[in-house]
């Protein structure tokens, strides 16, 4: 949109990846004179807002400077040799697939930092909190920006330690157990993934994703591809998460602080699905074709399983936790993303990428809202909240209630909001999967997934009915309605949800050419 020279773009991208890391180190040092603020805690939280804000601005400028005419071309590329012994290169670059995820990450982290500035979760000092959030941001952004398999693995692993500590130190009940479960599941997956990545790298002689994607699997025998896809796929599927490897997710979400949940659902899960699109689809297409039907089957089971689990939690007397419910709904939504990827067709993959972004926006918003509700009432237990006949949030805090209802309908995929397009395109993709995949199988998957959307609508509406509606009694204590900072943190998410729903072309125009090129082989 605006013309920025390539070298500035390179610098911007490098800054986006490295900036948060420098910020994390700076957060641990004492504040310099003049920036001390009211108290050390306030100063460091403000530091977090400043750094994430700067990264967000850089990401927006990068998005503006991005050549929207050629979104399939890798832009702002840096390619420096780092470890010649292993053939690892610091290869950064963005295209239409990674750019939206990069901006989403920068946005969500900034909103989280902003929210924490006013509402720091209970726990030890904010110094470490801010540093961890920044390391987390750096790792996530790096995952989306790197074009080297080993660097991707490094970035993928980098988020683990910060997220572990965010859950274990600032989380709620059962946090130690949940944090362990989170890190052990992910590590088990990622060690297997490392073996797969090494197999690809050693058999083809390069770890460079661009070169490998251009090769489109021609340099790798089918058996190598099958083994590699199995190994890498397990690592990514744990992260995504794919049923039946999802069981860490509900616990982690329930225990994590609000900000942790938002980042976990909003961006960390995307790293898994992004890996599928960026690595497995173009680099090992034969192996992917072998496993696509299984992936789709697991994805569909995940959709149904997630929805049924949510329905069960939403029932009266089930002692369902709202955070847990949204976590399970994530399993369902990510099922749609995986189904889209498994179709290996441009429509399906585009749908998957769209659903990725939509899920990040909507689920991020929902976790913010539930977190705010928990802060106000002290519980996120659905039965306690709604008692017998409903909580009547519309009456007690109309704006909060309205936003919650908005988040719920967006999540169930109401046309006109972001949640709709991704899932619809994923279903379309399944209607007509890539030529060499079994169409009848995918038709079955599609119809089951369609039932899933109905189930999603059912539980979301039950939640709205139980939390937002109900007899409003005048003597019931009113809850504090949406505060200024909450408004600031949530408005961008609402606005983008509406925008993506009304103008999907803005996003699809970016992803589609890149996806076409990716599936055809070659990323130049």
């Amino acid at each position: 949109m605006i013309d920025i020279s390539e070298s500035v773009m390179q610098l911007l991208l490098a800054l986006i990846v490295v900036g948060p890391l420098i910020g994390a180190v700076a957060a641990l040092l004492p504040a310099p004179p003049g920036l001390k603020g009211k108290s050390p805690d306030q100063a460091v939280l403000r530091h977090g807002v400043t750094v994430t804000g700067a990264v967000l601005v850089a990401a927006i400028v990068l998005a503006l400077g991005f050549d929207h005419g050629h979104p399939s071309r890798m832009q702002a590329t840096t390619d420096i040799s780092w470890i010649p012994a292993l053939g690892v290169r610091i290869h950064l670059g963005i295209d239409g697939i990674s750019l939206p995820l990069l901006v989403l990450t920068a946005l969500l982290t900034f909103l989280c930092a902003l929210y924490s500035y006013f509402k720091m979760p209970k726990g030890p000092s904010p110094k470490a909190f801010v540093a961890l959030i920044l390391v987390l941001e750096s790792g996530t952004l790096a995952t989306f920006a790197v074009l080297d398999l080993l660097l991707f693995f490094l970035a993928f692993e980098m988020v683990l330690i910060p997220m572990y500590f965010l859950i274990a130190r600032w989380g709620g009940e059962q946090r130690a157990r949940a944090a362990w479960k989170f890190i052990l599941f992910t590590l088990l997956g990622s060690v297997v993934m490392l073996l797969g990545l090494l197999l690809i790298g050693l058999k083809s002689g390069t770890f460079d994703m661009m070169a490998l994607a251009t090769d489109n699997g021609r340099g790798l025998s089918t058996s190598v591809q099958v083994i590699a896809v199995l190994a890498i796929g397990i690592g990514l599927a744990v992260k995504a998460p794919m049923w039946p490897l999802h069981s860490w997710l509900p616990d982690a979400h329930t225990a994590a602080p609000t900000v942790g949940s938002v980042l976990l659902a909003g961006v960390l899960l995307k790293m898994g699905t992004y890996g599928f699109v960026r690595i497995l689809l173009p680099i090992a297409p034969d192996g992917m074709r072998t496993f696509a039907p299984y992936l789709a089957a697991f994805a569909v089971v995940g959709i149904i399983y997630g929805s049924l689990a949510c329905l069960n939690l939403a029932k009266q007397g089930a002692k369902g936790d709202l955070k847990r419910l949204i976590a399970y709904s994530s399993v369902g939504h990510m099922g749609f993303v995986l189904l889209g990827i498994a179709t290996m067709s441009p429509t399906g993959v585009n749908g998957a990428l769209f659903a990725n972004i939509a899920h990040g926006l909507i689920t991020g918003l929902l976790f913010f809202l539930v977190g705010a509700l928990k802060d106000r009432t002290g519980t996120s237990d659905l039965d306690t909240l709604s008692e017998q006949s409903g909580m009547a949030l519309y009456g007690k805090a109309p704006r909060l209630g309205g936003l919650l209802a908005f988040g719920a309908v967006a999540s169930l995929g109401l046309p006109g909001l972001a949640g709709f397009w991704g899932e619809m395109l994923a279903l379309f993709g399944a209607f007509k999967p890539a030529g060499d995949l079994s169409r009848p199988a995918f038709l079955v998957f599609m119809s089951i997934a369609a039932v899933g959307t109905l189930l999603t609508a059912a539980y979301m509406l039950i939640v709205v009915r139980r939390v937002c509606m109900g007899p409003s009694t005048p003597e019931a204590p009113r809850l504090a309605d949406v505060r200024g900072y909450e408004f600031a943190a949530w408005t961008p998410l609402v606005a983008l949800t509406v925008l993506a729903g009304l103008w999907p072309a803005a996003l699809l125009g970016l992803t589609n050419p890149a996806v076409q090129k990716l599936l055809a082989g070659g990323m130049k």
Binding site: I83, L184, L187, V191
Partner: protein
């Protein structure tokens, strides 16, 4: 260092390349100087001995600098129909010598502080005979530095003994400590047996090839008399035993936990790093240089050894109870057994690979990372042991609150050992080992290692998490009286941390050994 089987009197008068042999020689000479000086230095000025040793080790390390880039050999047989040298300073030698001498330097720094503390603690009564301590440490370092340069089996065994014998004494040096003497005895008996077995193996190899020079052995082994075939095979296998023992490979590992716990902490650190370096550099020399034609014997053996070692070590480390006395040292001991398994993987892979030098380069890269990081972890353990002499894992709870720097550094070291960012160098060192295995077609070993990495992650992470947990039931404001600043110890911690962080930024510095020729 004698020229073995010298054919004529003329060759007994040799020109010796003193620069090439300087590193082990300086260490040995300083050892003697310290031993003699101990007689003349007054009781309250014994600290001088420690600083002399540190200076000596530093000089020995610096003497490596002029050797960089060239390949120098000395103690050669020129008059024979072939050229064979007993001492060679090539790239491999220099890397291991650097590891050994720098590691010994860090050990010396740790020892200075623990000797000083021991002196203060017992009101002047010395629990350690200091002169002997420094003499033994330096002698052992000299032997360890000689070993990678040895190119004949006799020198190799002599170097192995020079490195090991003082180590037994070091373990048992603590006066009036029964655990210490027990540990030394256990260590001594098992080590002597292992060395005896190695000698037997060497004699078998000598019997079938008629030479002790590694390169000659290699050519000799290619055409062994058919009748001697079994003898040679047995010889090859038995020669490995003594070195496997030093690496603490399973089943030669049982001495490790008790020895580490019984030994003074710096000595345990020394054994875990330099002791292992001695073992695996010996293994590399005999397998890759001397016995390449018998790769079908030692390859599977080492692969099985590696798999067993890492599994046993990691599972045992996993089972350590946090509240047991010395559990931190025990955990480090078992984890070092597990790490030894990773070190063996590339050596086993060398048997199957087209380019064995590249494979064993991965061992070197991994060992350099491990040396820095493990010494660092022991240094922090020594720091903690000053206030909490029992050194239980539960003593580390809330370390971040009382000593943020030490806790951050220990966390970093542990994550390096685990191979998880921010310990980038640990991660990439593991990647080279993995790739050596995958490259050589040892897929099953890579999978076993992957499982082990996950097991190890569990206990390393648990320890790391403990560091940052809030302390139980203790008032945080309690002043720690016994906690004084200690220069050498802080230097050791800081130096290892700086090396670790620098390597994480530029892993190529050590990883390049995995991609270039070594010999």
């Amino acid at each position: 260092m004698t020229a073995v089987a010298a054919p004529s009197v003329a060759s007994l008068v040799q020109s010796v390349d003193w620069t090439a042999i300087a590193p082990p020689t300086i260490a040995a000479v300083v050892a003697l100087v310290v031993l003699v000086a101990d007689l003349f230095v007054g009781e309250n000025r014994k600290a001088v001995l420690g600083w002399t040793s540190v200076a000596g080790l530093a000089a020995a390390t610096l003497s490596l600098v002029p050797l960089i880039g060239a390949r120098r050999s000395t103690f050669c047989l020129h008059n024979a129909p072939y050229d064979a040298c007993s001492y060679t300073a090539d790239r491999f030698t220099l890397v291991i010598q650097f590891l050994v001498l720098a590691g010994a330097l860090v050990t010396a720094l740790l020892s200075i502080s623990s000797l000083k503390d021991a002196r203060n603690h017992r009101n002047g009564a010395r629990p350690y005979p200091e002169g002997e301590f420094w003499f033994l440490l330096l002698s052992s370092a000299a032997g360890a530095a000689l070993l990678p340069a040895s190119r004949d089996l006799a020198t190799l065994v002599v170097a192995l003994e020079v490195a090991s014998l003082p180590a037994f004494a070091l373990v048992g040096l603590k006066r009036g400590d029964r655990r210490s003497s027990d540990a030394a005895l256990k260590f001594f008996l098992s080590s002597v047996t292992a060395t005896a077995v190695t000698l037997l193996g060497v004699s078998f190899v000598y019997a079938s090839t008629g030479t002790l020079h590694l390169t000659r052995v290699a050519t000799g082994l290619t055409h062994v008399d058919g009748q001697l075939h079994t003898l040679t095979q047995a010889g090859v296998a038995l020669t490995l035993v003594g070195f496997a023992f030093k690496t603490a490979a399973v089943p030669f590992h049982f001495w490790v936990p008790d020895t580490y716990v019984g030994a003074p902490l710096p000595v345990a650190a020394y054994l875990s790093v330099i002791g292992k370096a001695v073992g695996f550099s010996g293994l590399i020399l005999v397998t890759v240089i001397a016995f390449p034609s018998y790769a079908d014997v030692w390859g599977p053996a080492l692969a099985a050894l590696a798999a067993l070692t890492m599994t046993v070590g990691n599972v045992a480390a996993l089972r350590q109870q946090a509240t047991r006395a010395y559990s931190a040292v025990r955990l480090l001991a078992w984890s070092s057994v597990g790490q030894a398994g990773y070190l063996l993987v590339p050596i086993a892979a060398a048997a199957y690979s087209d380019d064995p030098q590249k494979s064993v380069g991965s061992t070197l890269a991994y060992a350099l990372m491990y040396a820095a990081v493990n010494l660092g972890a022991f240094a922090v353990a020594a720091l903690v042991a000053r206030t909490k002499p029992l050194n239980r894992l539960s003593d580390y709870r809330g370390l971040y609150a009382s000593r943020p720097f030490a806790a951050l550094v220990l966390g970093f070291f542990l994550l390096c050992l685990a191979g998880l960012p921010p310990g980038i160098i640990g991660l990439f060192a593991k990647v080279t080992v993995f790739s050596a295995a995958v490259d050589a077609g040892l897929g099953w070993l890579a999978v076993v290692m992957a499982v082990n990495v996950v097991i190890a992650l569990y206990y390393y992470l648990q320890w790391t998490a403990t560091l940052f947990r809030a302390r139980e039931g203790e008032s945080t404001g309690k002043a720690q009286v016994a906690d004084r600043f200690c220069g050498p110890l802080t230097t050791a911690v800081a130096a290892t941390a700086v090396i670790g962080v620098a390597l994480s930024g530029a892993p190529q510095v050590v990883l390049r050994f995995a991609s270039t020729g070594l010999f």
